[in-house]
């Protein structure tokens, strides 16, 4: 919850906020091109989110483009 709104994170492209009247709004993130390039990599996964005050700290990883022998 942030500023009396319920915030739901979706993808890095958007999140949702809901007020006390259940009105839902879409929020867009302000990302620079370097961040977009990293997050747009296929197989990027969010591992953990920690909220402090108004900031969400989001840890993501993506799978290395590397062939691995699987027995």
């Amino acid at each position: 919850m942030v500023n009396d709104q319920l915030i739901v994170l979706d993808t890095f492209k958007q999140a949702y906020s809901m007020d006390k009247n259940n009105k839902l709004s879409t929020m867009k993130f302000s990302l620079n091109q370097e961040m977009k390039n990293e997050l747009e990599k296929i197989d990027t996964m969010t591992e953990q989110i920690t909220i402090k005050d108004e900031k969400a700290y989001i840890f993501t990883q993506y799978i290395m483009d590397k062939k691995i022998e699987v027995k």
């Binding site: 319920l6 979706d10 259940n22 296929i42 197989d43 700290y57 990883q61 799978i63 699987v70």
Partner: protein, 295 residues
């Protein structure tokens, strides 16, 4: 199918949960003497001086007997300190309450706390709890609570305590499968679970008495959530005197001649519950359907 198996195998082999956590440290000072090619030496106690974040992660392998460590990094991502190897494997939740941070794993029976002021690391399991990993953890000023996932067909344990008296841990059980998410409000814990048939439930527990007050099946249609029965980063929260549970539906469209890879389509809903009766009051369509291609 083969591609998908390879994909998941790669996930298991290369990557497992990494958790990031903001520390209380006010200002950081980058230490230019630290060589990024060499991690700091492993210590029993973390050096949190100048740290900005604490991370916990493990590198998985196919035996699932891997180890992990805690790390302290500064704002630039420079590793400042590292704990000795611990039974950290697929850490799934890392929550801060005051100066303590609590960690549970979903591939290890061990759980730890880290003091963010001193760097001291402690085990936090209750003495008489079952063997089993965790899927969720919740912490506020009055309670720390985690699940112990054991026999899927039996009741699951919850371990909880007041953060001021960590030596006084209590254990109770809840029915209907593995716990997925926990939220505590006014000494009452609200917990979602999923049973072996992938039926979702919500429970209401009085943490002062240790009694289960109410359990309700979440009346969801099959097209509203994914029926895999396993924890899926579900969350539950109290907002404006109502409970909200977020659910996701994943649909896999197999690869065909027209496109070379499977496509996962996601759609989500926010389920509004009455916190007294646990009955569903509203289902809010939340997520615009998105598609993600799987190699």
């Amino acid at each position: 199918m083969k591609k998908k198996l390879l994909f998941f195998s790669i996930i298991i082999l290369i990557v497992l949960s990494v958790i990031i956590f903001k520390m209380y440290a006010s200002d950081y000072v980058a230490d230019e003497n630290i060589n990024q090619e060499e991690l700091p030496p492993a210590k029993d106690v973390l050096n949190v001086k100048n740290g900005k974040y604490v991370l916990a992660f493990s590198e998985a392998n196919d035996t699932r007997e891997n180890k992990g460590s805690f790390f302290v990094i500064n704002k630039e991502g420079v590793y400042l300190s590292r704990s000795k190897e611990l039974d950290i494997s697929s850490p799934i939740a890392f929550k801060q309450q005051g100066n303590e941070a609590y960690l549970v794993n979903n591939s290890s029976n061990k759980r730890y706390s880290v003091n963010l002021a001193s760097g001291e690391i402690k085990n936090i399991e209750a003495k008489k709890q079952n063997d089993g990993q965790s899927f969720t953890l919740y912490a506020n000023e009055e309670y720390v609570i985690y699940d112990v996932a054991n026999d899927y067909n039996k009741n699951q344990q919850l371990v909880y305590w007041n953060p001021k008296t960590p030596e006084d841990k209590k254990i109770m059980t809840i029915p209907n499968g593995f716990a997925q998410s926990i939220y505590v409000y006014n000494d009452v814990a609200y917990i979602t679970t999923s049973d072996p048939d992938a039926i979702e439930y919500v429970h209401q527990v009085n943490l002062k008495t240790g009694k289960l007050l109410n359990s309700k099946k979440l009346k969801l249609k099959s097209e509203e959530y994914t029926q895999n029965g396993l924890p899926s980063n579900q969350s539950i929260i109290m907002f404006n005197k109502k409970l909200y549970v977020a659910v996701t539906k994943t649909t896999v469209i197999p690869a065909t001649e027209n496109y070379e890879s499977d496509v996962d389509e996601y759609a989500g809903r926010l389920i509004q519950l009455n916190p007294k009766t646990l009955e569903i009051e509203k289902k809010l369509q939340l997520m615009i359907k998105i598609s993600i291609r799987i190699h």
